[in-house]
């Protein structure tokens, strides 16, 4: 079903950004047709700067000509607006609060750990790795009851989508940092979730190319390590 003119959906994104990827995944899971505009973050389009003047970042969703920025705000907007298809948030307010809390934790805490692991070396990196391990443990314990026995695109949920978006980068982070952050023995639950999540076709469809991701993270790492220390 093509969305014509007024109701058109466009997404300004970047192929490797977990923030952008999670919006794409949500749109695919909901079956919402959209036009995708790849942004070069070193040379942002005038449209992007016009639609997100505050942060000048991707992702930005444009619906009926109106822009929405901030990935988690966009995901809630998508759920609020398109009532057909899988719901990203459950009905029950308490479950919703749990999903929002853990989504926020994944978004802020886990993402930050991973970026630090990529951008540091020596003691700083060791500390970041330890931090990432601890956070994974927290996620495993805290999110256990949020994951259904069988997960598919219809019950992926906001937290599942955000988790996938981070996992897209995860393996490449491990390669670049040279350390296994996720261990089937240390994190059996997460390991089983990852396996189940990557069996979902929409999730696989959006996954960025691993080698390309490693290349980008290596580039980011090299830049960070060469930069003069503040």
């Amino acid at each position: 079903m093509e969305l014509e003119g007024e109701n058109k959906v466009k997404l300004h994104g970047m192929w490797a950004s977990p923030f952008s990827l999670r919006v794409e995944l949500a749109l695919k899971v909901k079956g919402i047709p959209y036009e995708y505009i790849e942004e070069n973050l070193k040379n942002k389009s005038p449209l992007l700067l016009k639609y997100n003047p505050v942060h000048k970042k991707v992702p930005v969703l444009i619906h009926s000509g109106r822009p929405i920025a901030e990935s988690l705000v966009i995901l809630e907007y998508i759920d609020d607006t398109w009532k057909n298809g899988p719901k990203l948030l459950p009905e029950d307010p308490y479950r919703r609060a749990q999903v929002r809390f853990w989504t926020s934790f994944l978004h802020q805490q886990l993402s930050e750990s991973m970026i630090t692991v990529v951008k540091t070396d020596g003691e700083a990196q060791e500390s970041a790795i330890k931090d990432a391990f601890e956070k994974l443990k927290v996620v495993e314990e805290g999110m256990a009851e949020l994951f259904p026995a069988t997960v598919g695109s219809e019950n992926l949920g906001l937290h599942g989508i955000v988790m996938c978006s981070i996992l897209y980068v995860f393996e490449a982070v491990e390669d670049v940092a040279g350390v296994k952050l996720m261990d089937p023995e240390k994190n059996p639950l997460i390991f089983s979730w990852v396996k189940a999540l990557f069996e979902i076709s929409e999730v696989r469809e959006i996954k960025p190319d691993h080698d390309k991701m490693v290349g980008l993270l290596q580039f980011i790492r090299n830049n960070a390590l060469q930069a003069p220390k503040a």
Binding site: V54, H63, R66, I68, A69, E70, L72, V73, I74, E76, Y77, D80, T81, P93, Y94, R96, A97, R100, F101, S104, F105, V138, G142
Partner: protein
């Protein structure tokens, strides 16, 4: 079964105030448990093992954490006096600016409150620019929520009380009425709402608290 609502807070936490305001605006009865941050109760640690922080809302024994998550929960559970607009796009705009306040304004203010010298000087324009973006959201409106206070007023409400405290502690003026006519008017109007007025923590106690926090932070930075 009657609703049992408890709020874990400290006397000064601006994030906990958000929860108090929302509950009172909706006429929800609740019990307050005041926490001593230096000596957290076993109950708090049990309810919030992840962050070990206030506020925590406990509704019929179930804990909800993170003030903005709690606000959404309160909105969805008690339908009186809706705090969020109905239209999805307006809701998204509200959530965007609430997040902006927490992600940008809070750290930028902390960046001036807890520093000195050149670092502090460089932090001041960041606060001003951030406040200017927020000022724009008030164009043509009495409150961020329109005619009555809403979600975003509650999320940004800490500024109405604490910015002048921070100004006193640092000796720096952030919110002058000439540069920020709309925010200045909003601060007066917001502070005048009875639910808000009756819950402000004592100003002199806040000044002392933040003065001590600033000194501690500067001392720690000096030893690095």
């Amino acid at each position: 079964m009657a609703d049992v609502v408890k709020v874990f807070r400290t006397w000064s936490s601006p994030f906990a105030l958000r929860v108090i305001w929302a509950l009172q605006l909706k006429g929800v009865e609740y019990e307050t448990i005041f926490e001593d941050i230096t000596n957290k109760s076993p109950l708090l640690l049990q309810y919030n093992p992840t962050y070990k922080q206030v506020p925590v809302l406990v509704h019929n024994g179930k804990p909800i954490l993170e003030s903005l998550v709690i606000l959404e929960y309160i909105e969805e559970t008690w339908k009186e006096n809706p705090l969020l607009p109905e239209d999805p796009y307006e809701r998204a705009t509200t959530r965007f600016w609430a997040k902006f306040g927490d992600d940008k304004l809070v750290p930028s203010v902390r960046g001036v409150l807890m520093t000195q010298g050149k670092e502090q000087e460089e932090g001041i324009p960041v606060v001003i620019e951030t406040l200017k973006l927020i000022e724009e959201q008030l164009k043509g409106k009495k409150f961020f929520g329109g005619e009555t206070i809403g979600f975003l007023d509650i999320a940004l409400g800490w500024t109405a009380n604490l910015m002048c405290v921070f100004e006193e502690v640092t000796g720096i003026k952030f919110l002058d009425a000439e540069t920020f006519p709309l925010l200045s008017a909003w601060i007066e109007n917001f502070s005048d709402v009875s639910v808000i007025k009756q819950n402000w923590p004592p100003r002199d106690k806040l000044v002392l608290k933040f003065q001590a926090a600033r000194e501690k932070c500067l001392a720690e930075a000096a030893t690095k």
